[in-house]
């Protein structure tokens, strides 16, 4: 039930933003993330942004995931060589 998803802010009107997820616009309250700007991604739960996504951390995590996937792929290839 604590599901929350990243939403990109398209417009801001006072404490409310219009955010976009997969091409669908929805209202998001920014009362808990007053520093959020247009273009930021916010983590949204039950209609409220509960945090601004840290882009640098997101990018580092993505790179780490890529490296993990590569390592798995590499091992699979080596295992394939050994058995095949």
């Amino acid at each position: 039930m604590c599901l929350a998803i990243p939403v990109r802010i398209v417009r801001i009107e006072g404490e409310t933003a219009i955010g976009e997820v997969n091409g669908v616009e929805r209202e998001v309250s920014l009362i808990m993330t007053p520093e959020a700007k247009v273009g930021d991604y916010v983590i949204v739960h039950a209609g409220f942004a509960i945090q601004i996504l840290d882009r640098q951390a997101a990018e580092e995590t993505r790179q780490l995931f890529d490296r993990m996937a590569q390592a798995v792929e590499e091992r699979r290839r080596q295992a394939g060589k050994r058995t095949g």
């Binding site: 039930m1 604590c2 599901l3 309250s29 009362i31 039950a46 209609g47 509960i50 840290d54 951390a57």
Partner: protein, 349 residues
């Protein structure tokens, strides 16, 4: 797999490793992604009490249902709650019998409804953990600012750190580390978990919800088991060490800590929230003179309580699949989309 190599190393000195994924969203993700099956069987990933609907007691559901039966009163709730059985049936059944129960995505929607229909009373079911409580606090604040008098909240919030303290103190559970919830921690930060490391010496990792997040979280926990316990934040893109201060202030401005009853666990001190005295005119219990009924033991033989504590897996419940299915659920762990029994039913049979 990197995880399995570590498990192999660690298991030379111990039989098994027991990590608890506290949050229901983790339970679902671990089942759906196949992680639970892919890891070395000596690494046990146990579900915890982190599904708010699952830990809601029969008595709380019954109270909500009794409220919904009042004429002119609308119960507003998140969708997750609607099919959970109380001792006299679910809210869905009450709705079928004519009660006005409405499902919303945000508590704000409930407030909007109350403003559009001032002749009716609207009660929002305040279910959830620290992730959800600030959203309801913000809504109460908005209701007060707009002078809305026909909106109130039935608080059933639960807090995660006291439940973890309960689990860490109970010896029989033998937990070796916690995969901590990402979105609860987005709000509360890391500090409230420090006691788990300091007092209990338990490895902890605040973890995100993608399968790769979870694998990294598990790796960090296994590393801590080798090198000594700590409190890691894997889900850095959302979690700051201090959490979200505005959300915390909203929560502590409107609510105060109170004892709470957890399904299968019982009463845990200071593990819930209620409205502060200044905000009591938004308290549905006071507004409608509700007495909270005592929870009774589930008569059906449902063992959700043990599932929620990681004492048994859903497959060890004799009713699982045979009597209890998502179509005919016997307990909330099968009803909720994040319940451990529902996760095992869908992905791990």
């Amino acid at each position: 797999m990197l995880v399995n190599e570590r498990v192999k190393g660690l298991c030379q000195e111990r039989g098994e490793i027991r990590l608890m994924e506290v949050c229901g969203t983790h339970t679902m993700a671990i089942s759906a992604s196949g992680i639970r099956r892919a890891v070395d069987p000596r690494l046990k990933l146990l579900s915890g009490p982190g599904c708010p609907v699952c830990v809601t007691t029969d008595a709380e559901i019954d109270t909500a249902r009794r409220l919904a039966e009042r004429p002119g009163l609308v119960v507003v709730t998140f969708g997750d709650m609607i099919r959970v059985p109380g001792s006299h049936g679910s809210l869905a059944e009450a709705k079928a019998e004519g009660a006005d129960i409405r499902v919303v995505y945000s508590p704000q929607d409930g407030l909007k409804m109350a403003m559009a229909e001032p002749e009716k009373e609207f009660v929002f079911l305040g279910v959830g953990f620290e992730t959800t409580a600030p959203t309801v606090a913000a809504t109460v604040l908005a209701a007060a600012e707009r002078g809305v008098r026909n909106f109130s909240v039935l608080t059933m919030f639960k807090l995660i750190p006291p439940a973890l303290e309960f689990i860490a103190s109970a010896k029989k559970m033998k937990i070796d580390g916690f995969i901590l919830p990402g979105h609860v921690s987005t709000v509360i930060g890391a500090k409230p978990y420090e006691f788990l490391v300091q007092r209990f010496g338990l490895p902890c990792c605040i973890t995100g919800f993608e399968p790769a997040d979870i694998l990294e979280g598990i790796l960090l926990l296994l590393e801590q088991m080798e090198r000594g316990p700590g409190l890691a934040i894997q889900y850095r893109r959302s979690v700051r060490p201090e959490g979200n201060r505005v959300a915390q202030q909203l929560m502590s401005g409107i609510f105060e800590v109170a004892d709470a009853e957890w399904r299968g666990i019982g009463r845990i001190r200071n593990s819930g929230l209620r409205l502060k005295p200044d905000w009591q005119n938004f308290d549905a219990r006071l507004r409608f003179g509700l007495r909270s009924a005592r929870s009774s033991r589930p008569a059906s033989g449902c063992r959700c309580g043990e599932v929620l504590l990681g004492l048994i897996t859903p497959s060890e419940c004799p009713l699982f699949c045979r009597v209890c299915t998502p179509e005919a659920p016997m307990g909330p762990c099968m009803v909720s989309s994040e319940g451990a029994c529902a996760a095992y039913y869908r992905y791990e049979r």
